[in-house]
């Protein structure tokens, strides 16, 4: 593991197995989505999280049920790691009414009130102000929750990134900004879109405490997240984690990836967060033969069930389409 090992708290074997299982679960789910997309079961945009699983899994460990999550369109990993049931996520990908957003949002707009999952946002940076507002509500109503928002490094070019960080720090709001810096904003490499590519320095210009984390190391991500969230809960105001990571798949299903070299992809694949954890747990004797296979089998079953659940889901009748445009008459 990376040089930050010493800073990591001792993790129980059972906890590590959990982290591994979560990452495998997300990885296989995303692979299944890619397959279903080719079968035209999933339509529209589909942004896969393969390669970045460590960030969602690691940071979710530091968030409590009372916290609010605001994600982006590359949100399947966050939703699953946060606890949104896989069958309802898959049904949403199919557009069925059993989906977590009644089939109306699809891949980019997964909503789940039970887990405080305030949706993916298809407008880059669009979610940041929401997280600020959710944190404002927590603070004004003296509640202990914090608001965590996930965004790619592309978002830092949006005014909303700067406005949100400034506002959050100005009003000392409990916001965790998690930047998943995968080096490419769709087709633009970071250096070609940011005068100052070092994201976490931007945050410091708003006096927002910020750290860089190895986004390919789930243990490192969790450690940083636990530390930073503790500070936020103690009233320290907002904080930013810049997780350096890499997506092994294209930006979305319709991307010939002309903007990056195959060699670079291969090089990053050597740092696959699942392989690294798996290898380390074997080395340290935590992981026995067959444990991973058991995880894989259990994940495969869950995915098969979620696909079956989505297949036999129902289409929303046209007659109900206008429902929820406004609150029902008389609702206060």
């Amino acid at each position: 593991m990376s040089e930050a090992d010493t800073a990591k708290p001792p993790l129980s074997c059972e906890h590590l197995l959990g982290l591994l299982a979560e990452m495998v679960r997300i990885r296989r789910f995303e692979e299944k989505c890619a397959e279903l997309y080719q079968q035209e079961k999933i339509r529209g945009f589909l942004h896969l999280y393969i390669g970045e699983e460590a960030i969602a899994v690691g940071s979710m460990q530091a968030l409590t049920p009372a916290d609010a999550i605001v994600a982006t369109y590359r949100e399947h990993g966050h939703a699953l790691a946060r606890g949104v049931p896989m069958d309802r996520v898959m049904a949403e990908m199919y557009g069925k009414t059993e989906g977590c957003s009644r089939g109306r949002g699809g891949s980019m707009h997964l909503f789940d009130a039970a887990t405080g999952f305030y949706g993916g946002n298809a407008i880059v940076g669009g979610g940041l102000p929401l997280a600020v507002g959710l944190a404002l509500a927590e603070k004004m109503q003296q509640r202990a929750g914090i608001a965590a928002c996930f965004f790619g490094e592309g978002a830092v070019a949006e005014g909303e990134f700067h406005e949100s960080l400034n506002l959050a720090e100005l009003w000392r709001l409990p916001v965790l900004f998690v930047c998943e810096n995968n080096l490419y904003a769709m087709g633009t490499r970071l250096e070609r879109s940011e005068s100052q590519p070092d994201i976490h320095i931007k945050a410091q210009s708003y006096n927002v405490p910020a750290e860089v984390v190895d986004g390919m190391d789930v243990v490192a991500v969790e450690a940083a997240a636990q530390r930073v969230c503790a500070a936020i809960r103690a009233g320290g105001g907002p904080a930013l984690l810049e997780c350096r990571t890499y997506r092994f798949r294209a930006h979305s299903m319709f991307d010939p990836q002309l903007y990056r070299e195959r060699a670079e992809v291969e090089e990053w694949k050597h740092r696959d967060p699942i392989d690294r954890l798996d290898a380390w747990m074997h080395q340290t004797g935590i992981l026995h033969d067959g444990d991973l296979a058991a995880i894989e089998a259990q994940v495969a079953t869950e995915i098969a069930q979620s696909v079956a659940f989505a297949e036999c889901g129902h289409w929303e009748p046209v007659a109900e389409m206008a429902r929820d445009v406004y609150a029902a008459e008389g609702a206060q």
Binding site: A68, A113, G119, G126, A137, L167
Partner: protein
């Protein structure tokens, strides 16, 4: 608060409405550029900071998208924010938040989350602020399912529409025409709360229906006065709510007079007046004796010089001419 006898302005009526909201509901707070220390760009919120403090009267940096988005987030989180966007012109920076979040979250989340938010913004031209500060974009927002739009023109509506908007669980946009702030009159002591659903006939008539809202209501009433002197009794319908439109009141009037002229400060192409004209054609075609007329702003960026701005904007003379054209004179 006001008593029957005192003369008050449109701006004071709105301030009283905000004060009343802050006093009666702890969840209510006001956020916007220069609303606190400066007292509001149009002096609507003067004095509120001293009375309610910086926690509930929040000056914001010039980050419309952020603070409007934050307003949406706070509403999601259980507050009842009143967000003031200085003018509709700046709302363009927050259009994404209003259209893609405020208007959409309830539906897109399958009904799980609601956005009980009120956004107030000044609108319209007439102060020689030139093109970027003279927009009338109510028609844009009236296009968006999920939003409600109200345009208070009278003192009663200015005083009481806010309460109705705050009570409504949907996001409500209140457009206050810049030329109305200085109008004054007597607000009757027993004036009671108003709804934000129906249009109202402000002046009954039988020869032609003049349909308008907000800033152009009084220009239209002036035109009706002129027409009356020439024996033409024009009926003036104040829409009050631009979405959802109260088709019933509108069509009842048009079916009676068989002639309609719509007065809308927006540009005619793809405007609210185009929508209203289409609805009249669809629902009252067989009642019409003349094509529906429209009086809108000239399709130019509003020019800075006074005489050009006057020429660009809808004026009573043009309304009278349009009414006569509808009568075949």
């Amino acid at each position: 608060m006001t008593d029957g006898t005192r003369e008050i302005t449109y701006r004071e009526a709105i301030r009283d409405a905000i004060r009343e909201a802050l006093l009666t509901d702890p969840r209510v707070f006001l956020m916007g550029e220069d609303v606190g220390r400066y007292g509001g760009c149009y002096a609507v919120t003067k004095g509120l900071l001293d009375e309610f403090g910086p926690d509930r009267i929040r000056d914001t940096p010039l980050s419309e998208s952020a603070f409007v988005g934050a307003g949406i987030g706070a509403a999601l989180g259980g507050m009842r924010p009143i967000v003031e966007i200085m003018t509709v012109n700046f709302s363009l920076l927050a259009l994404d938040q209003i259209v893609n979040n405020a208007a959409t979250i309830r539906h897109m989340s399958g009904g799980q989350f609601e956005v009980p938010l009120v956004i107030r913004m000044a609108t319209g031209a007439g102060r020689q602020l030139a093109a970027q500060h003279s927009h009338s974009l109510e028609g844009w927002y009236a296009h968006i399912p999920g939003l409600k739009l109200v345009t208070p023109a009278t003192l009663e509506d200015a005083r009481f529409m806010l309460a109705a908007a705050l009570a409504d669980p949907n996001p409500v946009l209140i457009f206050e025409h810049v030329m109305l702030y200085n109008r004054s009159g007597v607000l009757s002591a027993d004036a009671e709360p108003v709804d934000i659903r129906r249009a109202i006939v402000r002046r009954p008539g039988k020869h032609v229906t003049l349909v308008t809202y907000g800033g152009t209501l009084f220009k239209t009433l002036d035109a009706a006065e002129t027409l009356a002197k020439e024996g033409v009794e024009a009926e003036v319908v104040d829409l009050r709510v631009l979405r959802p439109l109260d088709g019933e009141t509108l069509l009842a009037s048009v079916r009676k007079t068989r002639r309609a002229v719509i007065v809308d400060e927006g540009w005619r192409s793809g405007s609210l007046s185009a929508e209203i004209s289409a609805r009249i054609m669809e629902a009252a075609f067989w009642d019409l004796d003349a094509p529906v007329g429209r009086v809108c702003s000239a399709e130019v960026p509003i020019p800075y010089p006074h005489h050009l701005e006057e020429a660009a904007l809808p004026q009573p003379a043009a309304i009278v001419a349009a009414a006569k054209a509808a009568l075949g004179a």
